[in-house]
């Protein structure tokens, strides 16, 4: 690793790819993207001349599940991403350099590629006590993050931690763990939520940026549209059972064996935006619902604080008691109903009494 000005072309040549194959690749890419014949030579030119995008990968409060996921990417293989497509200059978890040597790379990249490198952040900074809950290289992580973010082209917020806060930001959030977009407000931030995000989604985002030299189109929440514009529910292979009204009523019942919809078991597919039901996991082998368990909504904001993963209706804690909307609503509506009935009864009694009084006065 280390700072480099290598191009994509020089790297693949070193890996034994011929110039002929390289041009075939460029033509194929241009064709598959629906571009004209001139585009092939333009792509070739870009890959021969443009330096590979330097990427700095930092780790805040996290569990490394994003990295674990990332290194298992099958399409493209992560080795191709790390070794040829990007120039992963710094990743303290998987890099060879350590200590002072490693920290120097940060400074070097920041100076050499001002405004050109991608800052990938896994985890988030805790802000409480001046950021003391996450010390990285002798300094609070939040300071390191701010410094490196200053000269970055864009920031990738890996996983639910960096995007939303995840478990360390779950109530009561003692360390005040804060998602990246609440700390860095002056840079484009791509949220790639999930706990962890799907490997192919991660490498897909990186591939897009290095290939096109720009950020993918983002939705309102800052997530790449190509992976996060639809819910698990929209592309779930069990959706026909949902529409038919066929649900698993309890674990291991006949419906569970038949593979019915897990809606009543608290599946969060209807409120979760991710690509699990299309891309799936472990090289497309399966995903939670296919394995018989509902989606827990791990790519959604505050998914730890919405009550049980196995309840359909969200637990509401605002009233000091743990109830769902129906329980609260029924109590409230019942109270109103009882109040109305009581009011009607009092009205009737009053009316009778008044009539009797009037009758007496008449006599």
């Amino acid at each position: 690793m280390g700072a480099t000005t290598e191009t994509f072309y020089s790297v693949i040549r070193r890996q034994g790819i011929t110039r002929r194959s390289f041009h075939k690749f460029c033509s194929l890419t241009a064709t598959s993207l629906g571009l004209g014949p001139v585009a092939a030579s333009r792509i070739a030119n870009a890959l021969e001349t443009k330096p590979r995008t330097p990427v700095i990968w930092m780790h805040g409060l996290e569990c490394t599940c994003c990295s674990e996921s990332f290194i298992r990417s099958a399409h493209p293989l992560v080795k191709d991403v790390v070794l040829s497509m990007i120039s992963l200059d710094y990743d303290d978890t998987i890099m060879a350099a350590a200590g002072q040597q490693a920290e120097e790379i940060l400074e070097e990249t920041r100076a050499k590629y001002k405004g050109q490198y991608i800052l990938a952040v896994e985890g988030n900074p805790p802000l409480n006590e001046g950021g003391m809950f996450c010390i990285d290289g002798g300094k609070p992580f939040v300071e390191k993050l701010k410094v490196m973010a200053e000269d970055a082209m864009a920031i990738i917020a890996w996983g639910a931690c960096a995007s939303w806060g995840c478990v360390q930001a779950a109530k009561p959030n003692p360390t005040q763990a804060t998602p990246i977009d609440k700390v860095i407000t002056n840079k484009p931030i791509i949220k790639v939520p999930g706990c962890p995000p799907i490997a192919e989604v991660m490498t897909g985002v990186v591939t897009f940026i290095t290939t096109f030299g720009k950020l993918p189109e983002l939705d309102r929440q800052g997530r790449p549209k190509m992976f996060y514009s639809q819910r698990i529910h929209d592309k779930c292979y069990r959706r026909p059972h949902f529409d038919a009204g066929q649900f698993v009523e309890e674990w291991d019942d006949e419906a569970a064996r038949k593979g019915y919809c897990l809606y009543k078991m608290g599946c969060k597919g209807p409120t979760t935006y991710n690509a699990c039901s299309t891309v799936r996991w472990n090289g497309g082998v399966s995903f939670p619902i296919q394995s018989g368990h509902g989606c827990i909504g791990c790519s959604e904001d505050g998914f730890w604080d919405k009550g049980s993963f196995y309840d359909r209706l969200t637990t509401i804690k605002q009233f000091g008691i743990e109830r769902n909307a129906d329980q609260i609503g029924m109590v409230a509506a019942g109270t109103v109903g009882a109040a109305v009935a009581a009011h009607a009864a009092v009205t009737a009694v009053k009316r009778l009494a008044t009539k009797r009084d009037d009758a007496k006065q008449d006599h």
């Binding site: 549209k225 038919a244 009204g245 409120t271 904001d301 919405k306 009316r351």
Partner: protein, 247 residues
């Protein structure tokens, strides 16, 4: 009798002449006022019907019916329930919008449910009077041609605001299915800027349903009660449009 009417000038009832019948008995001509114009009445009943459909189907979306047997392709239970909910929701939205537009062209009663005259001291005094009347502290109710001040407050908060909230969150949730390129998402997607996790929007939409259940309970009760106690027509007014004052 008419001293407490909100706007006496407009509220002048066509006091029918007191006629005598053949036997010399006086037939009392009941004074009536035209309050609710046809569009208001149509909107009222369409919305009432839509809200009932929405409540039932909405509850069943949150808590679905027991599973059906057989091939998935042979039934469409959840599909029909959701269709009914979405259809009724769009009907409600259209008629609510129509009702807002009518407030601009209709009589002043058609505007009552869209505002509370917070700055008018007299209004709050009369609200207090109404509260006292409902708390059995006043012997005689005041009579109003349109909504009484307390009713107006209740209609504005309990109906107008809540229904607007339900329509906005409803369309936002609907846009989850129609996709981020849909007009529903373009118009109502900002809801997810406030609550990024749509699970929260589902919960608030669900609580809104219960708030409307409470509103309907009170609304129907108050209408029936006032009809009997205040000696003025309430329920039939929403059908004929005319408010009749009884002695």
């Amino acid at each position: 009798m008419m001293d407490a009417v909100a706007r006496p000038a407009e509220a002048e009832p066509n006091l029918a002449a007191i006629a005598a019948d053949a036997a010399g008995e006086h037939a009392v001509g009941r004074p009536t006022v035209y309050v609710y114009e046809a569009p208001v009445r149509i909107c009222h009943w369409v919305n009432a019907f839509a809200i009932i459909v929405l409540m039932v189907t909405g509850y069943l979306i949150g808590t679905p019916l027991p599973s059906v047997e057989g091939e998935a392709s042979a039934s469409f239970v959840m599909g029909y329930i959701r269709f009914a909910h979405f259809a009724a929701g769009q009907v409600l939205a259209v008629f609510f919008l129509a009702r807002i537009l009518w407030a601009f062209v209709g009589n002043h009663h058609s505007r009552q449910i869209f505002y509370i005259p917070v700055h008018r001291k007299q209004f709050w005094k009369e609200v207090l009077h109404e509260i006292r009347w409902y708390a059995f502290l006043e012997r005689e109710p005041k009579m109003y041609v349109g909504h009484n001040p307390l009713a107006q407050t209740a209609m504005f908060t309990g109906f107008t605001l809540f229904v607007a909230f339900m329509i906005v969150t409803g369309f936002a949730l609907y846009s989850e299915g129609t996709g981020i390129d849909s007009w529903q998402h373009k118009l109502f997607g900002w809801v997810f800027a406030i609550w990024p996790n749509s699970q929260d929007v589902h919960t608030y939409h669900h609580l809104g349903m219960w708030a409307l259940v409470m509103f309907v309970t009170v609304h129907v009760y108050a209408a029936i009660r006032e009809d009997i106690m205040s000696r003025q027509s309430i329920i039939s007014s929403m059908i004929s449009g005319e408010r009749q004052f009884r002695e």
